[in-house]
C-alpha cells in the first residue's frame, strides 16, 4: 500500500479519535455513577456512599482532563486534514459541533468546579444538583457528537448548493430516529464501561482484602446495573443493525461477509473473508439465520457485496472482525454480569475467587467493545466520508503533502503516548491508594478548572494526609 497523504490522514484520524473516545466513554459512565452515589448518599446518609463517591471523583478528574486535552485536537483536525469536507459540510457539521462545545462547556465547566471543591460551600441539595448537571453535560456532549456522526452516516435534511451542503431541515438532522438509536447505543456503552471499571476495582479490592465495605458497594451496584443494561444494549444494537440494513446495505453485507445475494440468507458466524476470491474461507455458517437477523423473516433475500461496484464497497475484514469482537465482548460481559449478580444475590461472591479474578480482568472489555464498534461503523462507511455523497478521497485536504502528514502523525503519536502513560500511571496510583478513610476537605490550593489537581502525591508512609498543611 502506498503511503499517501490520504492514508496518513486516515491513520491520524483513527489514532487520535480512538485515543480520545476512551476517556469520554469512561467519564460519561462515571458521571452517571457519581450522580447515583450522590442520590444514595443524599437519601440514606450512609458514609460509605460518600467515601466511594469521593474516591471515584478523583479518578473522574484525571480521565476528564485527558479527554479535554485530546478533544481540543479533534476540533481542529476537521479543518487541517479534511479541508474539503469541512468546507462543504461546515454549514451542518459546524453548528452541530458548536452546540457540543457550547452545551458541554456550559454545564460541565460550571458545575465541575462545584463538584470538586464546593462540597463545604454549597447546600447538599445544590451539590446533588451539580452532580446531575455534570452527568447531563457529558450526556449532551455525547448527543451532539452522535448527531454529527449520524449525519455523516445517514445524511438528511440538506440541499446541495454550489459545492456546499446547506441545511434545509434541522428537525430532520437532529431528530432523525437514527440519531436516537445510535445515541442510546453509545450512552449504554458508556454506562457499561463505567460499570465494569467500577466492578473490576471492587473485585480487585476484595481479592486483596482491602476496603471490603466499599468494594461490596462497587461490585454489587455495578454488576446489577450491567446485568440489566446488557440485554437492553443487545436490543439497541439490533436497532442499529436495522438502520444499517436500511440505509447502508454495503456496510451490512461487509459486516456479514455476504458476497452474493442469498435467499434465504445464511449467517456466517466466523470465517476468513477473502476479497480476492469474493468468498469466505473456513466459514462456519447457520442457514436462514442471516435472513432472520436482517429482516425478521425466514425467506427474505439479502443483498451481497458483489451487487456493488468495487469502488463503492467498504473493506470487509475490519468491519467483519471488529463486529464479531464487539459481540464477543458483550457475550463475556453478559456471562460475568449474570453469574456475578446471581452469586451476589446468594451472598457467595466473595468465596468465588475465580469469578472475582475474571471480573477484575474484565475492565478492558467495554473499551474494546466501544473501539471495535466504532471501527465497524466508520470503516464500514468507507469509501464514503458522508455516506453516498462525498468520498473520503475527495474530502481530504487536496494539497496536503506526505511530509506534513507524516510529521503530524508522528507528533500526535509521541505526545499522546507520553501523556497517556503518565495519565494511566496516576489513575493506577489512585486506584491502588483506594477509598481511604478520610473525607477530602477543601484544599486551600485546590481550584476549579483544574480537574487533575485532585491527585495529591502520596505521602512517604503510604498514608493519605490531608492537603494544605
Amino acid at each position: 500500500m502506498q503511503l499517501t497523504a490520504l492514508l496518513l490522514s486516515r491513520l491520524q484520524w483513527a489514532f487520535t479519535i480512538s485515543f480520545h473516545i476512551i476517556f469520554p466513554a469512561f467519564t460519561i459512565g462515571l458521571a452517571a455513577w457519581l450522580m447515583v452515589l450522590e442520590v444514595l448518599n443524599f437519601a440514606t446518609g450512609r458514609p460509605a456512599y460518600r467515601l466511594v463517591f469521593e474516591f471515584w471523583l478523583k479518578i473522574f478528574g484525571v480521565a476528564f482532563g485527558l479527554g479535554v486535552v485530546s478533544g481540543i485536537v479533534m476540533a481542529f483536525q476537521f479543518g487541517t486534514n479534511w479541508s474539503e469536507l469541512s468546507r462543504m459540510s461546515g454549514p451542518i457539521q459546524g453548528p452541530l459541533l458548536s452546540y457540543e462545545t457550547f452545551t458541554g462547556f456550559a454545564l460541565e465547566a460550571s458545575f465541575f468546579g462545584i463538584l470538586l471543591f464546593g462540597r463545604s460551600r454549597v447546600r447538599p441539595w445544590f451539590y446533588l444538583f451539580s452532580t446531575v448537571m455534570v452527568a447531563l453535560g457529558t450526556a449532551l456532549s455525547a448527543f451532539w457528537i452522535m448527531a454529527n456522526n449520524t449525519w455523516m452516516q445517514v445524511p438528511v435534511g440538506y440541499a446541495s448548493e454550489q459545492d456546499i451542503f446547506a441545511p434545509t431541515d434541522w428537525f430532520k438532522i437532529v431528530l432523525n430516529p437514527v440519531v436516537w438509536v445510535r445515541f442510546a447505543h453509545m450512552l449504554l456503552a458508556a454506562f457499561l464501561t463505567g460499570a465494569f471499571c467500577v466492578a473490576a476495582t471492587g473485585a480487585w479490592y476484595l481479592l486483596r482484602d482491602r476496603f471490603a465495605a466499599e468494594a461490596r458497594i462497587m461490585l454489587r451496584m455495578s454488576l446489577y446495573l450491567a446485568a440489566i443494561l446488557l440485554p437492553v444494549q443487545l436490543y439497541f444494537g439490533h436497532l442499529n443493525g436495522d438502520y444499517i440494513h436500511e440505509h447502508q446495505p454495503a456496510k451490512f453485507a461487509a459486516i456479514e461477509a455476504r458476497w452474493h445475494d442469498e435467499q434465504p440468507a445464511a449467517e456466517v458466524l466466523i470465517g476468513i473473508p477473502d476479497p480476492a476470491t469474493e468468498s469466505n474461507k473456513y466459514a462456519l455458517s447457520i442457514p436462514v439465520l442471516g435472513s432472520l437477523i436482517a429482516s425478521m423473516s425466514f425467506t427474505s433475500k439479502e443483498v451481497g457485496l458483489t451487487d456493488f461496484p468495487r469502488q463503492d464497497r467498504p473493506p470487509v475484514l475490519i468491519p467483519f472482525f471488529a463486529f464479531r469482537i464487539m459481540v464477543g465482548c458483550w457475550l463475556i460481559m453478559l456471562v460475568l454480569a449474570w453469574t456475578g449478580s446471581y452469586l451476589i444475590a446468594k451472598g457467595r461472591i466473595e468465596e468465588n475467587r475465580p469469578l472475582l479474578w475474571a471480573t477484575f480482568l474484565s475492565f478492558p472489555l467495554p473499551f474494546i467493545a466501544i473501539l471495535t464498534g466504532w471501527f465497524t461503523a466508520e470503516v464500514g462507511r468507507q469509501p464514503w466520508t458522508i455516506y453516498g455523497v462525498l468520498r473520503t478521497a475527495d474530502a481530504v485536504t487536496p494539497f496536503l503533502t506526505v511530509r506534513s502528514a507524516t510529521v503530524s502523525l508522528v507528533v500526535y503519536c509521541v505526545i499522546y503516548i507520553f501523556i497517556f502513560a503518565f495519565g494511566s500511571f496516576y489513575i493506577h496510583r489512585l486506584l491502588r491508594t483506594g477509598p481511604v478513610g478520610h473525607l477530602v476537605l477543601p484544599s486551600t490550593a485546590a481550584v476549579p478548572n483544574r480537574p487533575m489537581s485532585v491527585i495529591e502525591p502520596p505521602a512517604a508512609d503510604g498514608l493519605h494526609v490531608p492537603v494544605g498543611e
Binding site: A106, A109, M452
Partner: protein, 328 residues
C-alpha cells in the same frame, strides 16, 4: 445574522487573546525565572483560570467552522504545520500544570514543557496572524501556497512580536497577582518587554511601508483608523507611569488596552474581509439556516451565560495569591 456571528467571533477571539495571552506570557516568563519557589508562585498565579481561558480557543474554532466554514477550512489547511505545533504546545503546557506537582525527579521535564509549550503556541499564533496580514496565496477560494507558504520574515517577526506582547501581559498579570520575588522579577522585566514591543511595532510599521503591504494602504485611506493607535499610545504612557510608581493594578489593564487597540486596528483594517483581501465576511458566511440554528440556542442563551461564567470565575479568583497556598 452574519454580523451577529462575526461579532461573537470577534469577542471570543479577543477574550482568548487577552485571557490565554497572559497565561501563555506567564509560561514564557516561567522559562527565565530561577528557583522553584518563584516558579510555584508563577504557576499559582494562572492555575485557577488557564483552563477556562483556553476554552475560548475551542469556542472561536467551532464558531468559525459553523458560521464561516470556508474561512475555517482555508485557514486550518493552509496553516497545517503551525496549527499542529500550536496544539502540541498547548497540550504539553496544559498537562504540565498538573503533572509537574506529582513528581520531583522528573519535574524538569514538565518545567521545560510548560515554558517551551507556551513559547511555541504563542509564536505560532503570531506567525499565523502575520501571514494573514501579509496575504495568503489563494486561488479560487483555496490555499495554493504550499507547505511553507506562511513562512517569510514578516510572519516570523509577528511571531516574535506576539511572544513579547504576551510576555508583557503576563508580567503585568504577575505584578497584579503576586508578592515578593515573583512581583519584583516581573517589575524588572516590564521595561525590557515594553521596549521590545515598541521596537517590534516600529519595525512592523517600517516593513509595512517598505513592502507596501495592502493593509497599509487601507490605513492611509481611512485616517479615522488612527483612533486605535492613539488609544494604544495613551495606554502605553499610563503603563509607564504606573510601573514607575509601582502600582500593581493598572499595568495589566493598560497592556490589555494596548492589545484591544491592536486587535481593533487589525479588525478594522481587514474589514469587510476575513481573509484579507480575498474572502469577505459575506462570502464566507454559512447559509442563513445554519446561522439561525446557532443563533436561537447557543447565540442567544448559552453565549451570554459563558460570558457570565468567565466573569464569575475571574471575580472569585481576584486579588493576590497567598504564598502559603502552595501544597506542591
Amino acid at each position: 445574522m452574519a454580523m451577529f456571528w462575526i461579532s461573537v467571533l470577534a469577542i471570543s477571539i479577543l477574550l482568548y487573546v487577552l485571557l490565554d495571552g497572559f497565561d501563555l506570557g506567564v509560561g514564557m516568563i516561567f522559562g527565565v525565572v530561577r528557583g522553584e519557589p518563584q516558579r510555584d508562585a508563577l504557576i499559582s498565579a494562572v492555575a485557577p483560570i488557564w483552563d477556562g481561558n483556553e476554552t475560548w480557543l475551542v469556542v472561536s474554532g467551532v464558531i468559525l467552522w459553523g458560521a464561516f466554514p470556508i474561512v475555517y477550512s482555508t485557514l486550518m489547511s493552509a496553516f497545517y504545520l503551525p496549527v499542529l505545533m500550536m496544539l502540541a504546545g498547548l497540550i504539553l503546557r496544559g498537562v504540565a500544570f498538573e503533572f509537574r506537582s506529582k513528581t520531583r525527579r522528573m519535574r524538569w521535564i514538565w518545567n521545560a514543557s510548560f515554558a517551551g509549550g507556551s513559547l511555541v503556541a504563542a509564536f505560532m499564533q503570531g506567525l499565523m496572524v502575520g501571514a494573514l496580514v501579509e496575504g495568503l496565496p489563494l486561488a479560487d477560494g483555496r490555499y495554493v501556497g504550499g507547505e511553507f507558504g506562511w513562512l517569510s520574515p514578516f510572519p516570523v517577526l509577528c511571531g516574535i512580536g506576539l511572544c513579547t506582547g504576551y510576555a508583557l501581559l503576563g508580567a503585568c498579570w504577575l505584578v497584579r497577582k503576586c508578592e515578593g520575588g515573583a512581583r519584583d522579577t516581573a517589575y524588572r522585566l516590564i521595561p525590557y518587554l515594553s521596549l521590545g514591543l515598541l521596537v517590534f511595532l516600529v519595525v512592523v510599521f517600517a516593513y509595512a511601508l517598505a513592502e507596501n503591504l495592502a493593509v497599509m494602504r487601507r490605513w492611509l485611506e481611512r485616517p479615522y483608523l488612527s483612533v486605535f493607535p492613539i488609544i494604544g499610545a495613551l495606554a502605553a504612557i499610563l503603563l509607564a507611569a504606573s510601573v514607575r510608581r509601582r502600582q500593581d493594578g493598572p499595568p495589566f489593564v493598560m497592556v490589555a488596552l494596548i492589545f484591544i487597540a491592536a486587535f481593533g486596528t487589525l479588525a478594522i483594517s481587514f474589514w469587510p474581509y476575513m481573509i484579507p483581501f480575498a474572502i469577505t465576511i459575506a462570502d464566507a458566511a454559512a447559509p442563513h439556516s445554519s446561522l439561525a440554528f446557532m443563533f436561537w440556542g447557543e447565540g442567544l442563551f448559552v453565549f451570554p451565560l459563558m460570558l457570565l461564567y468567565t466573569a464569575i470565575s475571574l471575580t472569585v479568583f481576584r486579588g493576590k495569591i497567598r504564598a502559603t497556598t502552595d501544597h506542591y
